[in-house]
Amino acid sequence: MTSTYNPMDLTGKVILVTGASSGIGRAIAIECSKLGATCILTARNMERLQETLASMEGEEHTIIPADLTDSAAVVSLVEQLPKLDGVSLNAGIEKMILCSYAKIREVHELFDILYFSVVDLVTQLIKRKKIRQISSLVMMSSIASDCHGLGNGFYGAAKAALSHYSLDLAKELHSKGVRFNTVRPGMIVTPLTMVDRGEDFIEKDKKRYLYGRYGEPEEVAHLAAYLLSDAAVWITGSEFTIDGGVSVR
């Protein structure tokens, strides 16, 4: 068999994927495995992590379940990790909250998962020297970080904070050879997003997209895999929008 040219090849790379139990995180884990990476999957739900694992190629992958909003669990996860060549951060929730009816507890919950848990995990990875010299971290943000959909403001604010954090990391850690980039998807069809949003929200909302449909997790996974690969070696501190043209005005 002749080797096939593939600049996105991930053979030999060890990649931690958070939020790997469903949606975009799951698709990224599967995609990375197809490109030859060895993945460590984390999320809260063991059963759904095993479903992800069952769809992956290769035998070397491992599962470490963890609730990333629990600092002790983050430390325990990081202690169990080998040296990493890549990290794909996807753990998330979504919650529509209107400013007029905001419950501070729910706003905290959004920020805990979307922002503080990432800060906690990345800090521990750096502190415990789990990130190799030449490596890539990819954060899953959202176009909500600078678009203003009704009820989506706090989610967007947490994602904006995440984007900001990623740029700060890129600047602070560039001399260590670690790349930090952010992916900003539009609406992607996942169990998290395809909840009943009431009235005809989804049917109407889809029409705003130039392709008339929402994205698929696999379409985002291709971009994340590219950023994790050596093909993206000169890319750091960047944000990539992937949204079927909905941002075009």
């Binding site: 529509m96 209107l98 007029s100 009816y101 009704l150 009820g151 909840v195 009943d196 949003r197 009431g198 009235e199 929200f201």
Partner: protein, 76 residues
């Protein structure tokens, strides 16, 4: 126990209707003031004021403001 008149007044506030009084027979989706913001506000207000959560699927079945009052009262 939900007070229908109080609920109608709360809906008037959400819909910013000041020049007329809403009745329980009002088909709210036919009001020019009804919008996606009004929908989200109505669901949030009901959660806030009545401690009741009406799912999007259940809400879709409701036609009049009186239907909403009944839906709240059934869930209290």
């Amino acid at each position: 126990m939900i007070d229908q008149n109080q609920f109608l007044a709360q809906m008037q506030e959400i819909l910013e209707i000041e020049d007329r009084t809403l009745s329980p027979d009002e088909k709210f989706r036919e009001l020019p003031e009804w919008s996606s913001l009004a929908y989200l506000s109505t669901i949030a207000m009901i959660d806030d004021e009545y401690n009741v959560i009406i799912s999007a699927a259940d809400f879709r079945e409701l036609q009049t403001l009186g239907d909403i009052v009944r839906a709240i009262s059934e869930r209290q």
